[in-house]
Symmetry: C2
Subunit: 288 residues, 2 copies
Amino acid sequence: MDLVKNGWFSEISDLWPGQCFSLKVKEILYQDKSDYQDILIFESTNNGTALILDGIIQCTQKDEFSYQEMITFIPLCNHANPERVLIVGGGDGGVAREVQKHPLVKEIIQVEIDEKVVNASKKHLPFMAKGFNSPKVTLNICDGFEYMKNHKNEFDVIITDSSDPIGPAVNLFTESYYKLLKEALRPKGVISCQAGTVWTDLPHVKQTICHCKKYFKSVKYAYSSVPSYTDGQIGYLVATVDDTNDLKKPNFIFTDKQLEELNIKYYSDEIHSAAFVLPNFVKRHLSK
Amino acid sequence: MDLVKNGWFSEISDLWPGQCFSLKVKEILYQDKSDYQDILIFESTNNGTALILDGIIQCTQKDEFSYQEMITFIPLCNHANPERVLIVGGGDGGVAREVQKHPLVKEIIQVEIDEKVVNASKKHLPFMAKGFNSPKVTLNICDGFEYMKNHKNEFDVIITDSSDPIGPAVNLFTESYYKLLKEALRPKGVISCQAGTVWTDLPHVKQTICHCKKYFKSVKYAYSSVPSYTDGQIGYLVATVDDTNDLKKPNFIFTDKQLEELNIKYYSDEIHSAAFVLPNFVKRHLSK
């Protein structure tokens, strides 16, 4: 785990050969190996605290809100009444922090496989882990795949906040995962999943959409700008079993006052719709 | 100019402290110092040929189309009749390549200060420098600031394709530059300028907009995803002297067939409008 050299953490991975993003390290706060992955948390000089799993940046304090808000509020605000929400993964608590802000959400179940990530986040990433403090949240330490096998027709929205498709998250990108998601949803359910970048992963994005289309009526890809992720961009697969529902359209619209009071910094109803407008090369590739 | 170490080029700059993007180098193709800047061109292992000025990535073959198309077609497609176009900077030829694709453009004047960039691009970046081959293009090697002092009321669209606000491009971010731009425009003229990123440069973006607003009626910021640029994102200041013109709306719409035939890979009329929809924190900051 010699990830920090000469004071810099560098994200070198076979997933994006020939390019690398680096952050200057002020202080290493935590370093451990769980049953599932290598965990590193450091304070960077300019981007706040960063969480690294198996050498890949999961979030930095500077820009994590873009990812957490977008993967959360696109499905939640699209759904007419998202009372019961399941979060798969998301061990840092950032998605739970956002979900509990939505006024229509009554109950949040979260399943995270790696307790060490949760505990380390509670200690070193409180700005995200505070999501676990909400009375709406019940956190279960278990395998999301296994959990859903025993929970059918229970959720309005399911958010899969996974790491990349290597390591413990590999099952969360398979065709059978989308079958489980569909079965765990109530009628009119909406899902969102982390879905990679259009610049480096376009064939993978397309494959994931194909898997999902086998079980969902409407499947779309949305994206937002996250400088700390590869290519400075991350995508969200958003899908519904209800083909009368236009995913691009929010049914619940936060007022400017609510956005400010709830500290929502990236998402808005306008960004919701714009996030589905894809660069021409992406649109063309995905429609083939 | 020891920019390449252990086979990697790293973009370390005081403009974005504590973070760094690196590209793996396959072969250095050109390295020289002009009267204005250090020039480096290399073939990367996975992102094609890259142009570096004063240590900062100007473009890579993999993603340069996003920047070139967006800085070009947002103003050109917004303008009802963009017959005569001025390009300031753009020594690699990429913007000229895009401008000449627009069917209504009759004449393109380009002013670039650094002939060495032009010549090196013709040799090593032919996929961009082919823009100079268009019979519509007249290239002048001179200072864009000085050129405009002597050319008033001449252009429908002016595109400022500059490097960052240090080095030879520093004048292109001042208040007096926007005065010159306004005076060089015909009535109903539209401009676009490279305008930095919202994640690292937000106060600078705001300052630039303020400078521009002293001379232009409508001033907006649009952006696109460019993985090779800092934060994976770049912005465009777009402005007009005609306040009846909605910059977000294209007046000329390329058909899908045209987009394909003209090899336009990022821009579309939908992306044109979506590029102006800003994340909530940006919208809030710029409206203060």
